[in-house]
Amino acid sequence: MTTTVCTSTMLAISDLTVRFRLPGAIVHAVTAISLTVAPGELLAVVGESGCGKSVLAHALLGLLPANATVSGTALLHGDGAPVDLLAADEKTMARTVRGRRVGLVPQSPATALTPVRTGRHLLQETLRAHSRARTDAETVAAGVGLAPADLDLYPHELSGGMAQRLATALALAPDPPLLLADEPTSGLDRPLVDATLDLLRARCDDGAAVILITHDLAAAERVADTVAVMYASRIVEHRPALEFFAGPRHPYAHALLDALPDRSFAPIPGHPPMLTDLPAGCAFAPRCPYASIDCGTQPSRDRGVACHHPMGARL
Amino acid sequence: MAELTLRRTRLPRLRLRPGRLGVTIATTVLVLAVAACLFAPLLWPLDQSAVNLARIRLAPSWAHPAGTDDLGRDVAHRTLYGLRVSLLVGAVAALVATVIGGIVGGIAGTLGGRVDRLLMRIVDTVAALPHLLLGIFIVAMLRPSLGAVILSVGLTHWLSTARIVRSELLSLRTRPFIDAAISGGAGRLRVLTRHLLPHVLPKLALATTLMVPHAVWHETALSFLGLGLPPHLASLGNMINDGQGSLLTGAWWASLMPGLVIVIVTLALAAVVARWRDRLDPRVRAELQL
C-alpha cells in the first residue's frame, strides 16, 4: 500500500445518475454518485456484480447504449480546459478523450479483442491512432510482460492471462493520465491477478490516476489508496483504504469484508435488490441487521458514509 | 462440425415486428380475404368463361374498379376467384408439405441414430437445390395439372417441417415424463400419440400456416410460367401471366390487382404469424425464419 499526497484533482464526478429505459421498466443503474480521483491515486470502486459499477465506466467514456439517460457532471482535468465527460459531444470524446486522456482496461478481454486481428495489428493500430506510431508495439507489449511472438497470435489463441495483458497494453499504449479498469482481474488465477494489479499500481506511481472497478476486496486491499463501496447503484461508503480496511463503517461494507475467506467467511443473508425495483430508502435495509424505521428514507453522506447507523458510532 | 455450428448460431433471424395496430389490421385483412374467398360464389357469382368482347381492356372505373382484361373480363372479379384458387391450392399444398415433412421428421426423431443421419442428409441435399427448378422439373415430368402443382410444392417445401419435428422429438425424448411413460409400460405407439403428438402439433400447425405464403408463391410462379394450373382454374399467377400481354398494349392494370393482392395477403400472413411465433421457443423460431 502506498500513500500519496493528493494535491490536485484528475476527475471530479458529481451527482452522476444513469437510467436505462426498457420496455415496461426503468433500470436504476447509477444513482447520484459523487467521487473524485487525483493524479497518482488508485481508487477502487467495489461492489457485487449487478450493482451498476461497470455502467459507471461506460458512462465516463460516453459508450452507453441509446436507451440510457445520463445526468450530472464528470469534469476531467489535465492538459487544457476541463472537459465534462458527460456533456462532451461524440466527436470530442472520440478525437481527444477516449484512449488518449481516459483509457479503459475492459472486462472479459476474451470478447473485448477483435477476433480477426492479431495483437500486433491491434497495438499498432492504437499507437497510430494516437500519433505514437514511432513507439514500438513490442516495447509496449514488453511493458506488460508479453513476448514479441505472442503478438502474432489471434485472440482465440491467447490464454486468459495473455489476453488480459494484451488488453492492458492496448489501454496503456496511448499513455492516458486517467485509467479505468473494469474488473480487470475476473477469471484470472491469483498470480495473474497480482501481476495485473501491480501493473496498475505502477501506473499510478508514475503519476496517473486509476479507477479500479472490482468485486474483489482483496484486490482493492492490495493496491487501492481510496475505496468506494457501491451497493444498488449508490456509493454507500467512500474512505481512504487504510481506514476503510481497518474498520468499515457501513453495515454493507462490513458484511462484505466479513464474507472474505480469510475473515469470518460469512455470506451476507438475502439477495441484492433488482435495479428495476429499488426501495425508496436505504437499499440495504432489508438485509441489514441494524435497520430501523429511519432506514425508510435515503441517508445522507456524512464523513464518507451513507448510513443512518454507521458502525463506528456503536464501537 | 464445430465451425458449422458456430456459423449457424451467428445467423440472425430476420423478423417482422408488427405493432398491435399492425397485427389487428393484418388479422382483419386475412379474415376478410378468407371470407371473401369462401362466400365468393354467393356474393358475386362468376362464369369463368364470361367473355365480353364489347369491353376489352377498359381502364379502371367505377363499373370496373380494376379494369377489364383482353377478353373483356372484370379484373377485380377474376382476382377474387384467383385468390380463392391460390389460397386453396396453397393451403392444400402446404398441408401436403407438412405431412411429408412430419413423416420424415417423425421417423428421424423417433428412431434416431443411423436412420436420422441418413434422412437429415437427404434434407440437406434437397435444401441445396434450386427450389423453383426442382418444382419445374416435377411439374414437367407429371404434366402441368392441379395435382402436379400440389406435389411440386409438397416435394420442395417439406424441409423446415421435417427439421422442426425431428428436433422437437429428439428433445422430448430426453424429458423425464417420456421416460416415466415408457417405464410405466406404455407402448411405443401410445407414447407417440399420447405424449409426443400433443407437443408437436401446435408447432406443426404454425409451420403449416407459415408455409402457405411460400406455397402460394411457388404455385403463382409456376402458373406465371404457364406450368401451373390450367386456365379453367385460373389463379393469381395465371392472371399476372395473362396480363403480361395486355401490358405491352398499354393496359397496365390487368396484372396490377392480382399482384397487389399477393403482396397484401403475404404481408398480412407474415404479420399474424410473427406474433404467434414469438410465443414459441427460440429453436423453432430459428428454423422458421420468414
Binding site: H58, R95, V116 | D124, L129, M141, P144, L248
Partner: protein, 318 residues
Amino acid sequence: MVRRRLLVAVPVLIATSIGMFLLGAASPIDPAKQYAGAAAFTATSENLDQIRANWGVDDPLPVQYARWVGNLLQGDLGWSTSRHEPVTAVLGARAGWTLLLVSTALAVVLVSSLVLGTLAAYRRGGLFDRGLRAAAYAVEAMPVFWLGLAAIAVFALSLGWLPAGGLTEVTATTTSAADVARHLILPVGVLAVSQAPWFLLFVRDSVAESLRDDHVLAAKARGLPGRTVLFGHALRTALLPFLTLIGTHLPELVGGAVLVETVFSLPGLGAVTVQAALGSDFPLLAAITLVTTAVVLTANLLTDLAYTAADPRVRLDG
C-alpha cells in the same frame, strides 16, 4: 474442410440425379413419341418400337440409369427433344447469359445491401432505417415477375427510358456490348431489388448488433477513429456470416433468374427451361438442374473457403 465439403457435394449430386431419373421414369410421357414429335401421329408402331429399342427405353431402370450417368460423365448430356439439338449445344449457347444476369445482380445486391444496411444500422431507429426496413419487407412480399412487369410498365412503356425486353435492338445485326448493357439494366435491377431485402435486413441487423459488441466498444474506448472502428472492427466480424448467406441464398437467386428471364424474354437458360418443361424434355431439364446444382455447390464451397480465409478462428482441417 474442402474435402468434407466435396464429400457432401458428390452424394448430393448422385442423390439428385437418382431422384430426377426416378421421376423421369415414373413420368407418363413416352420419350419415343416425343422424339418423333409431330411425326409420332403418322409413324407406325414398328417405327416407334425401333426408336425405343435404339434408346433402350425398355431396359431395366438401373441399366438405363447407369447408361445415362455414363454418358453424362463422358460429356454427352443427351439430345434435347424440345429443341432438337444436343443438350450441350443448348447449354453452351445460353448458360453465359444466365451467368451474366445472375452474377451482375448478385454483385449489385451485395454492394447495395452492404452500403444501405450499414447506413441503416449506424443510424438505427432513424427515419432512413425505418423507411428502408418497411420498404424491404414490402419488396420481400412482391413476386419477382410482378415486380418485373411493373418495371416494364413504368420504365419501358410509360417513361420510355429502357427497352422492355430482349437482349439487343430488333434492328441490330451485331451484338454490341453497349446495347446488351442497356437491355440488361432492367432485368438485373429487378432481380437485384427482389433479392436485396434479405441481404439488406441481414446486414442491418448484424451490424446493428455488432456495434454493441464488446470488441467494438473496446475499440471505441481506445479512441480509434470512427471509420476504423466501423470498417476494421464492427464490419469485419458482423459480415462473416454474410458469406455463408450468399451460399445458402444462391438457389433462390437462380429461381428468380428463371422468372426474370421469362418476363424480359432474355435468351438465357430460364426461357429454355420453361420450354423444356412444357415439352417434358427430360434430358435438357435434367441437365439444367444438375448443372445448376453443381454450380450452387461450387459456389458454396467458394464461400466456405472465403470464410476460412477471413476468420482465423476457422481453420482448414482436412
